[in-house]
């Protein structure tokens, strides 16, 4: 590390600087710390035996042979877990996830038993020696079927008690519905009766996996004060609270620490392996590491498959006057945070459009598939896929330009959203216009000839920042002027360390490079709800700003006490030396932030303040389709966001293009393929394709519209997900534009286009003529 003479650095403007990540050097030298790297003395490795059936009763588990294998420390089943944790069920919304299966299994891949050994190869080998007998039960896999199915995934619903809108589901039996959320505005029936045109479509999305390249990993160890859990988690504060609840311990007895995450994308949220790590540590009384393989991640957490029926009433002028949305979210066998996805994304299902009459029904459904939870976008990409695909279909049928159709329907500032909340600082029109401009939408477009045809499409989506959630921060200045920022925000690649350092530096008149950001350690860093849903810039940005301002106020008070002229630059170093007579002491500022919010009405979903801000993303796409093979390539992709005023434009741009590239995977390639028995066929990169370097669009560019989020720290709001919103529907429209084929289910693969093209020879030849 080069020496930084803090006192000599100018107090330049920090926010808005294009700044490299503070940890850049650590990441290019291989030195960056990940929990993946951590080993502890006397550590045992845990390997998990997983259910081979989608739904069944466990008749017997024979561990005799595995226990006898040389090098095996122990074999653990739920019997052992129950001895140390009498109620071993966890989850943020429902207590529906047993640490190890108890009596029943609910999906292929559910953890059933664990082998512990000092050598991970021994633990893995011994798994083959455990014999489990199941009495198979019929399984339900489809989210729409599961609504009325006789097959019930859980005998009884057990809400966690944290969310008020789930409490009424406690004890409910014979249902797979883990939340039904509704929005009612105006009179939808009347709108359909009066409409000039009515459109009804059903759109589907598939189950996909985040595949963070650092697979989930957690290590538990007993300490003199309780237990420490080292984990690749996006939510250390929640892990502490949930593990303390499971063990019946106080928060003071559980310490949770994280490092850099090798990607998160929502996979490492709430509580995952930590419950099992805590149980195994308690049972074995030794440090235990659980490090998943890439394959195992597919059985741990995924993104909801959805079925979305959308029906729209449109008048003569092309205005949408009514919209009915029914969304079924396939949550798999554990609700995880699915009920929040169902609600928070559910209320945006009618899209960013000014529609007087809206009805939304959004259902979180249990099925016998691996659990689904948060995934970059928190359900928004599934919604945008449907409402933007339909927007393009409507525009086509009305003979309107799709950009113009959007322009006349988009919500303007001050207009009420479907929930009744008035739009504020939501630059929808600007994002649409900027995307269209970058696409040269109004200029002549080369549509190709012969077997190569070209088309283009634009999609725009919005997301409400999840609320109400709390962030706390501390800023400490030491007597040489060094600055330390303590937060529980997890840097998983989004650049939060850098952004938070910039905010603190801005307030304190320092350079961001001189600020040390302390990584989450619940014994050291204060509470934060979680690093999710693009909430950190807004929430933790404010908390750090307030903490730094608190430190400044303290310094001003000290300066006044010592009669230092207000005009003079006050610095922590001279003040502390004066107070304590030497290089000693600290100035510690604290900040906390929770935005205003009003819960939606239970029956109508109405709220005067449903969200602290709206994040907006638009994507324009040009494709080239080979009409013989159905193969297509993206020749241009333009991604535009409203993120307020970017704190660090350099990182924002990479975040936006990275999000769009990730979404290309879900749009075009990725699909967890299950057979009729719920067996996953492709849990590996050999058969599950994520975007590689060859999948980049030939031209890819990013833009940030000039905007201010007036309620945000320095005008900023989150941006980690916005690049994903418009990608999929824009591709579908571009394909339609090129060859007249409309795809309504993701992923959009060449073979689907090929099949559609050749099953529709007449249409294509007619257009060709």
């Amino acid at each position: 590390m080069e020496h930084i003479d803090i006192a000599s650095l100018p107090a330049a403007k920090q926010v808005g600087r294009p700044l490299d990540r503070l940890e850049a050097k650590a990441k290019v030298t291989g030195r960056a710390e990940y929990i993946h790297n951590l080993t502890l003395p006397r550590m045992l490795h845990a390997k998990i035996l997983r259910s081979t059936v989608a739904h069944g009763r466990i008749v017997s588990i024979d561990t005799t042979q595995a226990r006898a294998m040389k090098g095996v420390h122990s074999v653990i089943t739920s019997e052992d877990v129950l001895k140390v944790i009498p109620e071993p069920y966890f989850g943020p919304a429902f207590h529906d996830q047993p640490i190890l299966a108890i009596g029943k299994v609910h999906y292929v891949g559910e953890p059933v038993a664990v082998v512990l050994a000092t050598d991970p190869y021994v633990a893995q080998e011994a798994l083959h020696l455990i014999e489990v007998q199941y009495e198979e039960l019929p399984a339900v896999l489809d989210e729409v079927e599961a609504v009325r199915s006789e097959i019930v995934v859980h005998d009884e619903l057990k809400p966690a008690g944290t969310f008020p809108d789930l409490k009424h589901l406690a004890g409910r039996k014979n249902t797979n519905i883990a939340l039904d959320f509704h929005v009612r505005r105006g009179d939808v029936e009347k709108a359909f009766a009066e409409a000039e045109h009515v459109f009804e479509h059903t759109f589907r999305t598939q189950q996909v996996m985040h595949t963070p390249l650092e697979p989930l990993v957690s290590i538990g160890e007993l300490t003199d004060t309780g237990m420490t859990i080292h984990t690749s988690s996006q939510s250390p504060s929640f892990v502490r609270i949930e593990v303390a609840r499971l063990l019946g311990w106080s928060e003071a007895q559980i310490r949770v620490r994280t490092a850099f995450l090798g990607g998160g994308f929502g996979a490492k949220l709430y509580i995952k392996l930590e419950a099992l790590a805590a149980a195994l540590t308690l049972i074995s009384r030794r440090p235990v590491k659980i490090a998943l393989s890439m394959e195992e991640q597919f059985y741990t957490i995924t993104k909801h498959a959805t079925t979305f029926r959308i029906k729209s009433a449109v008048n003569k002028e092309g205005r949408i006057i009514g919209r009915e949305c029914e969304v079924w979210w396939n949550g798999g066998a554990c609700a995880d945070i699915g009920p929040r996805v169902t609600q928070k994304s559910g209320f945006t299902a009618a899209g960013p459009y000014d529609i007087e009459n809206v009805s939304v029904d959004s259902y979180q459904i249990y099925t016998n598939l691996p659990p689904a939870g948060a995934f970059r976008g928190f359900g928004i990409t599934q919604m945008v896929w449907a409402y933007e695909s339909q927007a393009d279909i409507i525009a086509r049928e009305l003979g309107m330009d799709p950009v113009e159709f959007r322009r006349i329907n988009l919500l303007r500032e001050g207009r009420p959203h479907a929930t009744g909340t008035l739009m504020k600082d939501a630059h929808l029109i600007e994002v649409l216009d900027c995307t269209a401009k970058r696409m040269k939408w109004d200029e002549p477009f080369d549509r190709g000839t012969g077997t190569i045809r070209r088309g283009r499409g634009i999609g725009i989506g919005f997301k409400a920042l999840v609320a109400p959630t709390t962030s706390m921060a501390m800023v400490s200045l030491s007597a040489d002027g060094s600055c330390f920022v303590y937060t529980s925000t997890v840097d998983m690649g989004q650049g939060s360390d850098t952004a938070l350092a910039m905010v603190a530096a801005e307030v304190l008149g320092l350079r961001a490079e001189a600020v040390r950001v302390i990584h989450p350690d619940t014994d050291v860093t204060p509470y934060d709800m979680a690093t999710l849903g693009s909430r950190s810039t807004f929430h933790m940005g404010h908390a750090v700003r307030l903490a730094a301002e608190d430190a400044v106020a303290q310094m001003q008070a000290m300066a006044a006490e010592y009669g230092i002229d207000e005009a003079e630059r006050i610095d922590a170093s001279s003040l502390l030396k004066r107070r304590y007579g030497m290089q000693a002491g600290n100035i510690v500022g604290i900040g906390s932030f929770i935005p205003d919010y009003i819960s939606p009405d239970k029956d109508t979903g109405q709220s005067d303040n449903i969200t602290p801000n709206w994040m907006i993303g638009g994507t324009g796409v040009e494709v080239e389709v080979d009409t013989e093979t159905g193969q297509f390539r993206i020749v241009r992709m333009e991604n535009v966001v409203d993120c307020g005023t970017p704190l660090n434009p350099k990182i924002v741009e990479t975040q936006v293009s990275g999000a769009a590239i990730m979404q290309l995977g879900a749009a075009l390639y990725e699909n967890m393929e299950f057979d009729e028995d719920g067996q996953l066929r492709n849990a590996s990169f050999a058969e599950y394709k994520i975007p590689g370097i060859h999948d980049l669009p030939a031209h890819l560019d990013t833009d940030i519209v000039k905007a201010v989020q007036h309620s945000g720290p320095y005008g900023a709001k989150g941006v980690g997900e916005s690049g994903t919103f418009g990608v999929a529907s824009a591709i579908a429209e571009a394909i339609h534009d090129a060859v007249g084929i409309r795809l309504t289910a993701m992923p959009m693969r060449y073979e689907q286009v090929c099949r559609a093209l050749h099953g529709n020879e007449a249409l294509f030849q007619a257009e060709d003529a």
Partner: protein, 167 residues
């Protein structure tokens, strides 16, 4: 299949002769991480498909998660930790920083080593040549455009420096 038999291997690791006691089923990654505590190469997909575990053995990039430890005997092994010279970053490392060519950083070591190997054989690669060469490395954060730019920038700087040195 596992075997408990221990064998001894000797090789040159980032310029330094070393030896290690291993079992035949151990991988190069096991040796580097567990014995020599070099954590730059990482296991991700475990199938040689993502490139996170890339190391250089006798001048050739291999997947450390598949390359068996016994085969390291008598070789020269280089890892991402060898790129720095003293406190001086390799031009590729610096270009990766300047272009913002990573987010979470988990895949970065693999991309750097592949890029290093590419520039040794092709000091001025085109965008297509870079893409072809790196098609076996995955980056879930999607930093590919920045990675391509970084490699071009590093190549340009290295070629410029060579020109200046010969002038």
């Amino acid at each position: 299949m596992m075997s408990n038999r221990m064998t001894s291997i000797s090789f040159v690791l980032n310029g330094e002769p070393v030896s290690a006691q291993i079992q035949p089923h151990h991988t190069a990654l096991d040796v580097l991480r567990n014995i020599f505590e070099l954590n730059g190469a990482r296991e991700s997909c475990g199938q040689g498909l993502c490139g996170c575990c890339t190391v250089i053995v006798d001048g050739q990039s291999v997947s450390g998660c598949l390359y068996l430890a016994p085969a390291l005997d008598g070789t020269y092994v280089e890892t991402v930790e060898s790129l720095e010279e003293g406190a001086e970053l390799d031009p590729l490392q610096q270009a990766f920083i300047d272009c913002g060519a990573f987010q979470c950083g988990f895949c970065t070591s693999g991309f750097l080593l592949m890029a290093k190997q590419l520039l040794q054989s092709n000091p001025d690669p085109s965008k297509e040549q870079i893409s072809n060469y790196l098609s076996g490395n995955l980056c879930r954060c999607g930093a590919y455009p920045e990675i391509i730019r970084a490699i071009q920038l590093a190549a340009q700087r290295m070629n410029q420096k060579k020109l200046e040195e010969t002038a």
